[in-house]
Symmetry: C2
Subunit: 272 residues, 2 copies
């Protein structure tokens, strides 16, 4: 992969990278199109990265359909699908990791303490292996996106980070490979994430800017509407990810995660 990337670089070709864990859906494909529009060469990496899964998480149950993924990639004009095996990516005695020490502490970092070290390390590796000029990430993984931008800034990677908006199912559920793990009943309840976020937008439109009250409203709604448990619902400054108690003029990221028996789902919205 790196040899190929070095050749492209010598030829002055613009390379766009779309890192994925596979089981592609329209969300991923929208990122491919963003890369395609700005790159001569589009690389899609397909790697279920073990180091970003905690011991009790769903690494073993992460969905996979390589054949379908490859068909999608071909249809979208992806030039290279980079699909390494875990033992090719990580040496058995791997000991160097990329850590973020501020933005990674809250939100998903609370319940997934090693997650972002795994994400940043593998993204740094993918950047060095694929040497992209630009890389595209989805806005559904809001904290991940901000951490990757922070890594690029703090480690000076020569990579432009482009983000693609959340792509949703017709009923509003944010697309996620993990949706396929939901039971039919869970799939119905999964809409509570989007509904909660839209209720917050509505309440804000009607003048409610107190985070405690907005949170209480959502918590009450969730108690009625789902058996899933709220992992977190946070209102944070969109840039620093510091919690805010009151919604002022600065953009506020509202992010949430709900744990269903078969999958943990996330969604978010930025209040501007």
């Amino acid at each position: 992969m790196q040899d190929m990337a070095l050749t492209w670089r010598r030829q002055g070709q613009i390379v766009g990278l779309v890192p994925t864990m596979g089981f592609l859906h329209e969300g991923h494909l929208s990122l491919v199109r963003l890369a395609r529009a700005q790159s001569k060469v589009v690389v899609l990496s397909l790697f279920v990265n073990p180091t970003q899964f905690g011991a009790n998480e769903d690494l073993d149950r992460y969905p996979s359909n390589i054949e379908r993924d490859l068909a999608y990639c071909e249809a979208e004009g992806v030039d290279v699908v980079f699909m390494p095996k875990a033992d090719e990516v990580y040496a058995e005695d791997a000991s160097v990791f990329v850590q973020e020490q501020k933005l990674s502490q809250g939100l998903c970092g609370m319940s997934r303490p090693i997650h972002f070290q795994g994400v940043l390390t593998v993204v740094a590796k993918l950047f060095n292996l694929c040497l992209p000029d630009l890389a595209v990430f989805g806005e559904k993984d809001a904290q991940q996106l901000r951490l990757i931008r922070r890594m690029v800034r703090d480690l000076n990677f020569p990579v432009e980070i482009i983000s693609g908006p959340i792509v949703r199912e017709e009923d509003g559920l944010a697309m996620s490979s993990r949706n396929s793990n939901l039971s039919e009943a869970e799939r119905g309840e999964a809409l509570v994430l989007r509904k909660s976020l839209l209720a917050i937008v509505d309440a804000k439109t009607f003048g409610e800017r107190n985070v405690k009250r907005l949170r209480a409203m959502v918590e009450e709604f969730l108690r009625e509407a789902t058996l899933g448990t709220l992992d977190y619902l946070e209102f944070v400054d969109d840039e620093t990810l510091e919690p805010v108690g009151h919604i002022e003029d600065r953009p506020v990221l509202v992010a949430m995660a709900v744990q269903f028996p078969s999958a943990r789902l996330i969604d978010n919205i930025v209040l501007t």
Copy 2:
């Protein structure tokens, strides 16, 4: 710097990087020559990296002579001296760091707990800013060299690491910018590092392979020969940096640090 480096890369020029903290001596210049021999463009970075100094260390007393450094660089045919300011290198709210979790624990890592996080982070940044094909490091900083090789392996940097042998003063003292901070009396005693290492080589030649006895021999010598305090004397596997109790056939790195009132000095030798 990065724009320049991207241009070189598009032109297919081989770039060699020599990272330094300045106050250059013959040791650094030997590294420049190694870079020069294999590169079209030689970049020497000159940056006293604050994040690799602990609170009670000698950041404020680190010697400097920019004018002389630049004259040396010109004489050696360095193409670019990269000399950023600290606030250009680190954002005020920098929060992403490169950490090594095994090889960095012993040796200098024991008394300098944040040192190698600072070193690896700044070297990762320099790699991304200068985009070298190869980078040259001195063997005096034995643990640093091994950690950088490990980082290149574990984060897949497309950079070849070349090492240059320790360059010594006529009397055997390993060249170091910090030598200039020594008093005349300390300068005399500073030879104890080299003498200790040579005594170990001699003893091994005569069949002594027990690390406990070799260490006792050196400790006794140091008690007589210097007022400096032994920070560490370690016998470790040259690859894993795991302590060894007995010198077998695998290469053993013998590394030591002695704290003098005006400077902490290090030296090492590999027993093969």
